[in-house]
């Protein structure tokens, strides 16, 4: 089936998400849509899938104009989609999820048996190993994704759209998915693969369409060199480097011992973690999302319920303390998601700047808030951090993503700290702000604060880290030096302990973890030329780790147009 988009434009109010985008997806083809976060890829696919109405432009199927007023129409036309956030009902079984919206019936009753049969058939054909009667919420993410693919295949999708399918997968699961995609293509399905990860794109695509700021900026083949693709995608040459001296830190400000976090359902989210961070040192935690990094940061500040083990900061035990007490001990915390955890949308900028400090003597007199002092404080922080806001009294929701993040950073760095914990400190932030925030973090380190950064962006990790920790399924795979090659980090992210992937250490110590999971003999050592310097570009597209676009250069942004984007 041939799918053709001509001059598709989609506007949200004043913001143009897609501007006159044209592209053609041919049968037996993996067509990649490459672009940064917020470039307009997902919007385009939602138009294609009938979730959004295009403002103008046409969609044609096999030469005939198609008009979708909802996903039902798109599905009927043979288009299936695997959403970035899975569209599965957690309490339903696989069969129920697959049947939904496409149910076969026998008389009045639902006939799930035929659905089960189809699931088994597809599962066998592609080696999915999916049990139709398993309840979805009990399945691992990778299997859930296969359920999503089965959903599309059961509906005889001839075009399959995969929206950032590898975001939640480990490198191993990613490779399996790429293999499945090739298999599907060879079976005749056209695939639209939306991604910002260059390695995956080059590995699997037949055609690559590059999108930047809602417009098509290039159409190339998979043989195109990585840096050329990156340049197309980003549009300018940006390197993420922060001037910083090597850390001379010794000793440990933060000592974490046997830290274990349980989820509500008894799943061990963080499994007996031991690590130290010295004063004046940045420990960066790298890894695929969802391997316990978030829980680590939350457990440090007392936000997790089921925690055992010990966290000591400058000799004082922090576990068992309430979040307020932890923060009062000199811990600054930047949560992963600023809009749900970091800011109160309807509060003013000034109020958000004191969200965890309103009880301090400067801002409160007894039970009463000192509103003038709070406003003055806000005015000075807004100046110092270059926060672009209409006024300190405007709701923080009216600010752009980058400025919102600066509000959080300003608040957390605005008081004397012993430990600074930041999760994804520059997610959805424009380039100018990223550099600013990175400089601030390094400055905080140089002041002697222990810093723990969690980032899924390897470039950020290399830019900031004095040491790098890698987690896999809640276990610490090891702590390694900043010169560790990407390939080695990638294998750690896939569950190999540090001592299994690294050559006998040129540096000493800093290796920990649960060594009984395997030995180094099982693995080749990483080629020695694969060691980039901090902040440099990945030189090995074939390395074991997905190179994200932000590995190269970055102007990520969230969906809202950045207020202070530079041209």
């Amino acid at each position: 089936m041939q799918l053709k988009l001509t001059d598709v434009t989609k506007r949200f109010g004043d913001f143009t998400a897609n501007n006159r985008v044209s592209l053609t997806v041919e049968p037996h083809q993996i067509h990649c849509l490459l672009g940064e976060n917020g470039a307009g890829k997902s919007t385009l696919m939602n138009v294609l899938y009938g979730l959004y109405e295009p403002t103008s432009g046409t969609v044609e199927i096999n030469g005939a104009p198609a008009h979708f007023s909802g996903p039902g129409d798109a599905m009927a036309a043979g288009i299936g989609m695997v959403h970035q956030h899975f569209m599965l009902v957690p309490v339903f079984t696989v069969a129920e999820n697959v049947a939904l919206g496409h149910e076969s019936t026998r008389g009045m009753a639902l006939d799930l048996n035929s659905t089960r049969a189809r699931i088994r058939e597809i599962s066998d054909r592609f080696g999915f190993a999916v049990d139709p009667d398993a309840v979805v919420e009990d399945l691992p993410v990778g299997v859930q994704q296969r359920v999503e693919i089965i959903k599309a295949l059961v509906r005889d999708a001839e075009v399959l759209i995969l929206d950032e399918p590898t975001a939640v997968l480990t490198p191993r699961e990613t490779d399996e998915l790429l293999q499945i995609m090739r298999q599907l293509r060879d079976n005749g399905t056209s695939i639209v693969f939306i991604s910002h990860k260059l390695r995956e794109v080059r590995a699997v695509s037949d055609v690559i369409t590059v999108i930047r700021r809602g417009e098509v900026v290039g159409r190339v083949g998979p043989e195109t060199a990585t840096d050329e693709l990156a340049a197309l995608m980003v549009g300018r040459d940006v390197s993420l480097t922060v001037a910083k001296e090597p850390s001379l830190a010794t000793g440990a400000a933060l000592e974490v011992r046997d830290l274990t976090v349980l989820g509500d359902n008894g799943v061990v989210l963080l499994d007996g973690v031991d690590l130290d961070v010295a004063p004046g040192e940045i420990l960066a935690v790298a890894g695929v999302q969802g391997n316990g990094q978030t829980e680590l940061t939350r457990a440090l500040v007392g936000l997790e319920k089921r925690v055992s083990g010990s966290v000591r900061l400058a000799g004082r035990e922090l576990t068992g303390l309430r979040t307020r007490e932890v923060l009062a001990h000199g811990v600054g915390f930047v949560p992963e998601d600023r809009s749900t955890d970091g800011l109160v949308d309807s509060f003013s900028v000034a109020e958000n700047l004191v969200l965890d400090r309103y009880r301090e003597r400067g801002f409160a007199a007894g039970p009463s808030l000192r509103r003038r002092a709070i406003a003055e404080h806000a005015r000075s922080e807004v100046g110092e951090y270059d926060i672009r806001a209409g006024s300190v009294d405007s709701p923080v929701a009216t600010l752009s993503g980058g400025n919102q993040q600066k509000v959080v950073i300003a608040r957390e760095l605005g008081r004397p700290l012993k430990l600074f914990v930041a999760s994804q400190p520059t997610r959805g932030v424009d380039v100018g702000s990223i550099e600013f925030i990175h400089r601030r973090i390094v400055a905080e380190r140089d002041r002697g604060t222990a810093v723990l950064i969690v980032s899924t962006e390897l470039d950020e990790v290399y830019a900031l880290a004095d040491r790098i920790a890698v987690f896999f399924h809640g276990r610490l795979m090891g702590i390694v030096g900043p010169e560790t090659p990407r390939g080695a980090l990638g294998r750690m992210m896939a569950g190999e302990p540090a001592d299994a992937v690294l050559p006998p250490a040129p540096w000493d110590g800093s290796r920990s973890g649960h060594g009984d999971t395997g030995g180094p003999t099982a693995h080749d050592l990483v080629p020695s030329d694969a060691a980039p310097q901090p902040g440099s570009r990945p030189s090995h597209p074939g390395a074991n780790v997905p190179a994200s676009p932000r590995d190269l250069a970055t102007e990520p942004s969230d969906d809202r147009p950045e207020g202070n984007r530079t041209a």
């Binding site: 993410v141 859930q144 799943v267 979040t323 109160v344 309103y358």
Partner: protein, 403 residues
């Protein structure tokens, strides 16, 4: 982290805070908001008038020959509705037939008297709204507050002044306990406060009914469920002399409004409560205890409703009956909604609904129009306040006016 929960949590749309309706929209102008409220009131009154008109005996009679003389029907309708509303106005604001100025203004003081418990309980509901909780339980909190206040009022015998203070404290305490229980259960177990408060309303009702059947609590020689009258020292003094029913409870309501306004806008506790209401996750991350917020706000909300019960016992009724809370607890919800959960908005909405209620009594006795029409008008107002087409209309209007 558990792989399986990832999709479920990541695309959970964060529910809009329940204050959305009440707290209003930043973009909406103050003028638009006021205009919209007025529009809602007017529309509701018109619909209520229609209802009065079409159920009127004379109207139905005239409608019998509608096609012969349609004017008769229309004029009968007009007379029925306007008569009822005029009577309501007489009963709520100003009585032109009064012999003296004081007599003429008597209705206004009645309005304020009735408004007192509405304002107090409404503040309790509004405060909880601001912290993100639906307090459907003002009814039960009023009842328990009134019960404790009445008990202290008739069974303790203290000197004047001290006795009243004790009564007020007891009423506040009773309500606070009944509200605080909800906060506590919610904080401990995550149970939904809507269900808890609804259920506790009925528990309270039965509890009071049982108490009023006990020897020490039931008035001696009475077979009705009514308590002994409270001591004179336990009563709120009259505010404007014995001619009027208006009592110092109204002053308590004004003070409570001032206090809630200070609490919400100018205190650290209010800052916490608002943060908990607007974004509990961010509040927790910032070190604010959400569960403690739930307990605190429900204690305060219950306390305010308990004061409403106190005003009833020590101000107007002077003894406890199981009907002491009337429907104030449910009216309080509509009052808080009309007042958009702001303290002064709630205050004026309370006075408006007090006027409806006070006027409704007069209306019923003068024109025979059943007082239940007041409930209809009140609920219609709240529905219209929330109705988006009306909001759009009001906003456009106010923009035109501004331009």
């Amino acid at each position: 982290m558990s792989a399986s929960t990832a999709p479920a949590t990541t695309d959970q749309v964060s529910a809009p805070p329940p204050t959305e309706l009440a707290a209003g929209d930043h973009r909406r102008t103050l003028l638009g908001t006021a205009l919209q409220s007025v529009l809602a009131v007017v529309t509701a009154l018109i619909l209520g008038g229609l209802l009065i008109a079409i159920t009127d005996e004379k109207v139905r009679h005239a409608a019998g020959y509608f096609f012969a003389r349609p004017g008769d029907t229309l004029s009968a309708m007009w007379h029925a509705a306007s008569g009822a509303y005029a009577a309501m106005f007489h009963g709520a604001v100003y009585n032109p037939d009064g012999a003296t100025v004081a007599d003429s203004l008597y209705p206004l003081t009645e309005t304020l008297t009735v408004a007192t418990p509405l304002i107090l309980a409404g503040l309790g509901v509004a405060l909880a709204f601001r912290a993100g909780l639906f307090n459907i339980g003002a009814q039960g909190q009023i009842l328990i507050g009134a019960t404790l206040a009445a008990w202290v009022g008739f069974s303790w015998h203290l000197p004047a002044g001290l006795h009243l203070l004790a009564v007020v404290a007891a009423g506040a305490l009773g309500g606070a306990v009944w509200g605080g229980v909800v906060g506590l259960i919610k904080a401990r177990t995550g149970a939904h406060e809507v269900i808890l408060t609804i259920m506790l309303n009925y528990v309270a009702l039965n509890l009071v009914a049982w108490l009023l059947s006990l020897p020490g609590f039931q008035r001696e020689g009475s077979s009705n469920p009514v308590s002994p009258a409270v001591d004179g020292t336990a009563m709120f003094p009259k505010l404007l002399g014995d001619h009027f029913r208006l009592h110092w409870g109204f002053v308590v309501a004004v003070l409570a409004t001032v206090a809630v306004a200070w609490l919400l806008e100018r205190s650290t506790v209010g800052f916490e409560l608002r943060a908990v209401g607007a974004n509990p996750r961010a509040a927790r991350t910032a070190g604010i205890s959400v569960t403690r917020g739930f307990v605190v706000v429900m204690l305060l909300a219950g306390m305010l409703a308990g004061l409403a019960g106190t005003a009833q016992v020590a101000g107007t009724e002077h003894s406890l009956t199981s009907g002491i809370a009337a429907s104030f607890g449910f009216d309080a919800i509509t009052v808080a909604l009309l007042g958009r959960s702001t303290p002064w908005g709630t205050f004026f909405a309370g006075i408006l609904y007090g006027a409806f209620r006070a006027g409704g009594v007069t209306m019923q006795s003068m024109t025979g129009t059943n007082i239940d029409i007041v409930l209809v008008v009140q609920s219609l107002i709240v529905l219209f306040v929330a109705l988006p087409p009306l909001i759009t209309f009001a906003t456009r209007r106010s923009q035109e006016v501004a331009a």
